[in-house]
């Protein structure tokens, strides 16, 4: 029997380098990249790199040999090869100006069919939903792109269509759960069939060209090529799940790539938003007002009352409340407010929304409509205001959704300084720093006490009272003292001189009286005290020292960590320390900020008071004259 050679079996044969893969597949690097992106093939990290690379220790890109063998049987490999041939032949035709042949060939452009790849990469629909995050984020980005060199117009308009369809699904199914305005864009989180799908819609921006080192649009375009197909199928299934017709039909004026929409970017965007503010056609003739069946709740009630079930019940109740959060409310969006995210939010929670019809298309009612309950404004002041509605800033909507209730609007009024906008994605029970605003969210009592204590502390300070106030107080005090002195003189039982009394406190007064009453008893008491067992002194524990001792002890223990765990232990400790430091820093910053705020508030108050007093004085002077 032949003795097996090194690297003929085991890990070395499981992995294949990229170069070898290219050779095996007979593809160029670009084609291979495209294939990998479309098929979802990625490099693997071997367990032992040295062994997997046949002894070399430099870091190579390794693929699983089985993956490459799997690619070998892929039909689109042939399409990719056809592309090469197609490019060569059309190039030739163009060069010799054989346009007839060229046209014929262009008509026979080899189409890349990706349907089977979608099925293969996502065997179940849930799998596809799980992987929807990147897909949606990229499609939302591409839907705003102009026609670029590597991104054809069809691609971006397809992206736009698919994203609008998806948003319509979200609106129709009311599955939006969390929203967040970050500096990067608007985060939306929806719950579709139990899967949390999060996507980002960037803040509106005029497209800026990027250098090739920074961003390679070719790669992104390939991703989008796959994601559009995947999204289309997903949308199809989602729409059918809701008994909606797919593809949805929009009014003819909307979403047609006419000349002016292509030219004018703002009309392009407004078109998209107009498409959102539009009820979809249903395949069944059911009305929308039928509610979600609440059988779950009953079942849960029967099942018992374990903690988890109670929690689930609460969650279900909250969600059902959230779904009708804006029901019956009518919103009007002023023109300076970014409309797209707001329209999504309002519509998906049952509100009605409109905007200035003279500027953007798709408006459903006018500003002068008296039934409007909220007008969303993002400017410091407004000339004409209706009394019948609240003028609020857009953050109100986001905070309402995240808190799952309609918040009082007073903090969000026109020109008001907004409260901090918190992320809904953080874990409430994490052991890092939690800002006071978030604490107040979970425990509403906290915020009240906080406010109260603020008020108290404001009133406690006697120094800050105005001068005239102080004077008044002093006079009152004197008057009171005089009164009591008189009372003591005439009506008092004991011959206690007044001086003593004025000095002593009221509480001590009674003691003195007692002492006077019986000296014998006092002596007895003293004797008793002498006889009695002295109460032992409580051993005062120096907390700091104890803490230090504890830390020392812990340190000594930590030195007993096994040598093979020492590095890990050190790493963990270091991580913990940086985390603690971070937390400490945040806390410290907050403290100083709060103190500064308080100080500023105080000085402002004092100044206001002074000014008022001065004004009053001036007025009185005037009056006196």
């Amino acid at each position: 029997m032949r003795r097996p050679k090194k690297y003929e079996a085991g890990e070395a044969t499981q992995y294949i380098s990229r170069r070898a893969a290219l050779r095996k597949l007979q593809l160029s690097l670009n084609d291979f990249r495209r294939l990998c992106i479309l098929k979802g093939v990625y490099p693997r990290e071997p367990k032992h790199r040295r062994r997997a690379q046949k002894g070399s220790s430099e870091i190579k890109i390794l693929y699983h040999a089985k993956d490459i063998r799997f690619l070998l049987h892929e039909s689109i490999v042939w399409t990719l090869r056809d592309y090469k041939i197609f490019a060569r032949k059309t190039g030739r035709d163009r060069a010799i100006k054989d346009f007839r042949n060229l046209n014929r060939r262009l008509a026979m452009f080899p189409e890349l069919k990706l349907d089977h790849i979608v099925k293969e990469r996502y065997p179940t629909f849930i799998d596809a939903l799980k992987d929807l995050d990147d897909c949606l984020t990229l499609l939302f980005l591409f839907s705003t792109f102009p026609s670029l060199h590597l991104i054809p117009r069809e691609q971006s308009s397809l992206c736009r269509r698919l994203t609008i369809e998806f948003l319509h699904y979200i609106i129709a199914s009311k599955s939006l759960r969390k929203v967040f305005i970050s500096i990067k864009g608007y985060y939306f989180q929806a719950e579709i069939k139990g899967q949390k799908v999060t996507w980002i819609v960037p803040h509106y921006y005029p497209f800026k060209p990027q250098s090739r080192q920074e961003v390679d649009f070719k790669v992104m375009s390939i991703f989008v090529e796959f994601y559009t197909i995947m999204m289309g199928f997903t949308n199809f299934r989602l729409f059918h799940g809701l008994n909606l017709a797919y593809p949805p039909q929009f009014p003819s004026s909307v979403l047609q790539d006419s000349e002016d929409t292509l030219k004018d970017e703002s009309s392009f965007v407004s078109d998209r938003i107009a498409a959102l503010n539009f009820e979809l056609l249903r395949t069944d003739k059911l009305q929308e007002d039928e509610e979600e069946p609440e059988i779950d709740m009953d079942l849960l009630e029967q099942d018992g009352d374990s903690k988890r079930i109670i929690k689930m019940k609460q969650e279900a109740q909250e969600v059902s409340r959230l779904r009708t959060l804006f029901k019956g409310l009518k919103f009007f969006i002023n023109r300076e407010v970014p409309r797209e995210p707001l329209v999504i939010i309002i519509r998906s929670f049952g509100g009605k929304v409109s905007w200035d019809s003279s500027i953007f298309s798709g408006a459903t009612f006018d500003e002068s409509d008296e039934t409007i309950t909220h007008q969303i404004v993002d400017r410091p002041s407004l000339s004409t205001q209706y009394i019948s509605r609240d003028y609020i800033q857009p953050q109100w909507l986001f905070d309402c959704v995240n808190r799952r209730q309609l918040l009082p609007t007073n903090q969000y009024f026109l020109g008001e300084q907004l409260p901090a906008h918190l992320s809904p994605f953080v874990d409430a029970k994490r052991d890092t720093y939690i800002p006071p605003e978030e604490k107040a969210l979970h425990d509403p009592s906290l915020i009240e006490t906080h406010v109260q204590s603020d008020d108290e502390s404001d009133e406690e300070e006697p120094e800050e009272e105005g001068i005239d106030q102080e004077l008044l107080d002093e006079q009152l005090q004197r008057a009171y003292q005089e009164e009591t002195a008189e009372y003591k003189k005439y009506g008092g039982v004991d011959g206690v001189n007044e001086d003593e009394l004025s000095d002593a406190e009221e509480a001590s007064e009674e003691d003195d009286e007692e002492e006077e009453v019986d000296e014998k008893t006092r002596r007895l008491k003293e004797e008793k005290q002498k006889m009695s067992v002295q109460s032992g002194k409580v051993h005062k524990v120096n907390k700091r020292q104890e803490r230090k001792a504890e830390v020392d002890e812990h340190r000594l223990k930590a030195r007993m960590v096994k040598p093979r765990h020492r590095n890990l232990f050190r790493h963990l400790i270091r991580k913990q320390q940086t985390q603690e430091k971070e937390e400490w820093l945040l806390r410290k910053k907050r403290r100083t900020i709060d103190a500064n705020d308080k100080e500023a508030k105080k000085t402002a108050k004092r100044e206001a008071r002074k000014a008022a007093a001065a004004a009053a004085a001036a007025a009185s002077k005037l009056g006196g004259k």
């Binding site: 098929k39 979802g40 990625y42 490099p43 693997r44 890109i61 993956d67 008509a107 996502y122 179940t124 629909f125 849930i126 992987d131 995050d133 990147d134 980005l141 069809e154 967040f180 305005i181 970050s182 500096i183 990067k184 864009g185 069939k193 999060t198 960037p202 803040h203 921006y205 990027q210 920074e214 992104m220 991703f223 559009t228 289309g232 949308n235 300076e336 407010v337 400017r379 800033q393 953050q395 901090a420 918190l422 992320s423 994605f425 953080v426 605003e437 020392d552 002890e553 000594l556 223990k557 030195r559 007993m560 960590v561 096994k562 040598p563 232990f569 963990l572 913990q576 806390r587 907050r590």
Partner: protein, 779 residues
């Protein structure tokens, strides 16, 4: 046709240059001949040559015309020329046909072709008259003497060869009779000059390159030359602007020009076409064929992806080949408060953080946040995030380029890694606080030893003194001055003797401290007073190494009783448990570095004939007759009775500093200079049972307590660490080691901290000596 034109132009170009030169000759007579020669050389003027190659003939119509001219004159070439002339005719027809296409230019050409012969004639005519220069009569018509136009008169039969081949000969060729044509006499420059002056026709005289004869140009010739030179049509009679006759018109004639009537089938509908059409109609009806509109519509529809119900159910899985062991990409982290457009104020960076964030521009992964938190007053003011595209791109790269593997994420608490040990509170008593400091030494205190009863301690220092202290009060009872640095002191463990062994320099002093029980002091003094009789003859090897002597009177005063002088400085001295034997270590002593002295017999032994390394320290086993010898790396255990090596302990450390044995004798503790302490279970293995890294610097000494399960270590990091080291009687249970307390009150001096530690024999108290000249007691 284009080719022809090109050749024509070439010929046209060639001609004028020739003529031009001939015209210019009149002024430059001297170079006249040379020039002519030069013109002749290229041999391009094949017009008058017989040996024209066929290609050339077929190329240019003008040349052909010249050929046809020759017909009349020369019968010899007539036959093959006749054939050519036919071709010529065709060519000429062709040319006419072409001329209709290219109107004016061709007119000019035809005119030229008519004119050409006269030109060539003009050159050739004078050749007839060899020798004499006779001007041709201009009045006489050109073709008067013969009906053919310019008869080619070839007198020189050499053919188309470079004429300079004849430069060396007197003749220039051969005429038709094969006679030499003699070159005409060539005058010198003066003759030329004279002729130039005298002859009025000199300017129109040209030399014929073929014959060397001079030819006089006629007025017509000159006029022709001038016309050609000025790029006009050579023939003066030719009218360039003749009215255009349109031979072929675009107008369709009413009546056919041909007189053949149309065939009948041209009036009848075609049957085959009818069949074809009916087939098409049928195909259209059946839907086999599509109209162009339909095709266009289908194409429109085909464009763009088609979506259908790909998944039948939500979770139903159809068996399909997938990639091997798929690992789904992890999702992006969700944003925290810091990413909000309006975060709580503490999340915004202060100056220091901003600076640090900006400083890490080249290593962005080291930043604590990948973005800078910002706060905006209102949503309207939020700009686009400049790195958004880049981030999306990086995510794409991650998805297809980042190696993936399934890894179990180690989500453990750091506390979990600390071994579960009992709390020190349950393991009391052990020393926790410093209670006394014994001050008095002026240099670092090397060693300390406790009296077996536990009332006094002795310390040896670098200030060459040994001090005896009372433990309870911290009072220094006695100071014994020595001659050299005291390296080590050791109190005899036998309570019935009061002896201290003091290693100072190379002398070992046995000192009676004179403290404690008077009886014992007396007894000890008596014991040491007289030397026992030596009955064994001492070995030479020992004799040179060690000398026993009774102390002198001055030293007797101090308490020194016996002096054992070694040949090298002593580093360590240690007693056997019974107090009769003591061992000393001299690291420089080579093979004799370890010595064992017997007090009762005043005798010394060298246990090893050869040392296995640099001996660091030695130790007696408390129970068995065993001897531990620590070299730098290893520890060897010898049986003193059998005089053999029992075991070798492998420490795997660089340098051993000290060792201590458990009072039961089964466990050994070793301290090393590389920060470690090693616990050896002697029954278990030759490798350490546990390695402890409790200290941050070199460990100088270790000590076991005699009664309590405690041990302590002193190190250069100024700390004394007290640990619990419980050894169970049950052999199956491993020793329990728990570090209890770190006592750090010694001061640092010259990189040294604690030099020696020693336990109180009864109490859980520990004494430590330090480089800060103090001895400290911890209780």
């Amino acid at each position: 046709m284009t080719k022809k034109q090109a050749t024509k132009r070439k010929v046209k170009d060639a001609k004028p240059t020739k003529e031009q030169e001939s015209v210019s000759e009149q002024s430059e007579q001297e170079e006249d001949e040379d020039l002519l020669q030069a013109v002749k050389d290229p041999g391009e003027d094949s017009t008058d040559d017989e040996g024209i190659d066929q290609e050339y003939q077929s190329d240019s119509s003008e040349d052909l015309e010249f050929e046809s001219d020759e017909e009349g004159n020369y019968l010899g070439v007539k036959e093959n020329n006749a054939e050519e002339s036919e071709e010529d005719g065709e060519e000429e027809e062709d040319e006419e046909g072409d001329s209709s296409e290219e109107e004016s230019e061709d007119n000019a050409e035809t005119a030229k072709s008519e004119e050409k012969p006269s030109g060539s004639k003009a050159v050739q005519e004078p050749k007839k008259l060899i020798g004499e220069i006779t001007p041709r009569d201009p009045s006489k018509p050109e073709y008067a003497d013969s009906d053919t136009s310019d008869e080619e008169d070839i007198r020189n039969t050499v053919g188309n060869i470079p004429m300079h081949w004849y430069d060396e000969y007197k003749h220039i060729g051969y005429d038709w009779d094969a006679k030499k044509i003699v070159k005409p006499p060539k005058g010198d420059q003066i003759d030329d000059f004279l002729r130039k002056i005298e002859d009025p026709n000199f300017w129109r005289t040209v030399k014929d390159p073929q014959t060397g004869q001079e030819v006089l140009l006629t007025d017509e010739d000159i006029a022709l030359i001038k016309r050609v030179n000025s790029a006009r049509i050579p023939n003066p009679e030719h009218n360039e602007y003749e009215p255009w006759i349109e031979w072929f018109t675009s107008e369709v004639e009413r009546m056919p020009i041909k007189n053949v009537p149309d065939h009948k089938r041209s009036f009848l509908p075609s049957v085959s076409e009818k069949k074809k059409v009916s087939r098409m109609v049928h195909a259209l009806k059946m839907g086999w064929m599509k109209t162009t509109e339909e095709v266009e519509r289908a194409k429109q529809q085909k464009r763009g992806p088609k979506f259908y119900m790909l998944w039948e159910t939500d979770t139903g899985r159809e068996h399909m080949r997938r990639i091997h062991d798929p690992v789904s990409a992890p999702k992006r982290d969700l944003p925290g408060h810091a990413e909000s457009y309006n975060p709580p104020p503490e999340y915004l960076f202060d100056e220091k953080e901003t600076k640090q964030w900006l400083k890490l521009k080249d290593e962005p992964h080291k930043r604590k946040l990948h973005f800078m938190p910002q706060k905006f007053k209102s949503l309207r003011e939020v700009p686009a995030y400049s790195r958004y595209l880049r981030e999306r791109f990086l995510r794409c790269l991650d998805l297809y380029l980042c190696p993936r593997a399934k890894r179990v994420k180690l989500n453990i608490d750091a506390e979990y890694l600390i071994p579960k040990l009992p709390s020190p509170r349950d393991l009391q008593p052990f020393p926790t606080v410093e209670s006394l400091v014994y001050r008095g030494h002026t240099d670092l205190v090397r060693s300390v030893s406790v009296e077996p009863k536990g009332e006094y301690i002795v310390s040896g220092s670098d200030d060459k003194t040994v001090k005896i202290w009372e433990i309870a009060t911290g009072r220094c009872i006695r100071t014994i001055e020595t001659d050299d640095v005291v390296r080590c002191v050791a109190w005899c463990p036998n309570a019935k003797l009061s002896i201290i062994a003091v290693a100072t320099g190379s002398r070992l002093l046995l000192v009676n401290p004179k403290v404690g029980d008077k009886l014992i002091i007396k007894k000890t003094d008596d014991l040491l007073a007289e030397a026992p009789s030596q009955d064994v003859i001492e070995n030479e090897r020992i004799k040179t190494a060690v000398q026993w002597s009774t102390a002198e009177a001055a030293e007797q005063e101090k308490g020194v009783r016996v002096v054992i002088t070694h040949f090298k400085p002593i580093r360590q001295v240690t007693w056997h448990g019974r107090g009769d034997y003591l061992a000393t270590v001299m690291p420089e002593g080579a093979n004799r570095s370890a010595l064992i002295h017997q007090l009762s017999k005043r005798r010394s032994q060298i246990p090893f004939s050869k040392s296995k390394g640099l001996i660091q320290c030695v130790l007696f086993h408390p129970v068995k007759p065993c001897f531990f010898v620590a070299t730098q790396h290893n520890i060897r255990i010898y049986d003193l009775v059998k005089q053999e090596l029992i075991k070798k302990l492998l420490t795997n450390s660089k340098w051993i500093s000290g060792m201590s044995i458990h009072p039961k004798g089964d466990n050994l503790l070793v301290s090393t200079y590389d920060k470690k302490m090693l616990w050896f279970d002697l029954d278990l293995s030759t490798k350490p049972y546990q390695t402890m890294r409790l200290h941050r610097n070199a460990v100088r000494s270790v000590a076991f307590h005699l009664r309590y399960p405690l041990f302590a270590s002193g190190s250069d990091d100024q700390a004394v660490i007290v640990s619990h080291g419980m050894v169970y009687n049950d052999l199956l249970q491993n020793p329990l080691i728990v570090p209890l307390k770190k006592l750090q009150t010694h001061e640092k001096r010259d990189e040294f901290g604690v030099l020696d530690v020693n336990w109180h024999p009864v109490q859980p108290w520990i004494f430590s000596t330090g480089a800060d000249c103090t001895i400290r007691l911890y209780t």
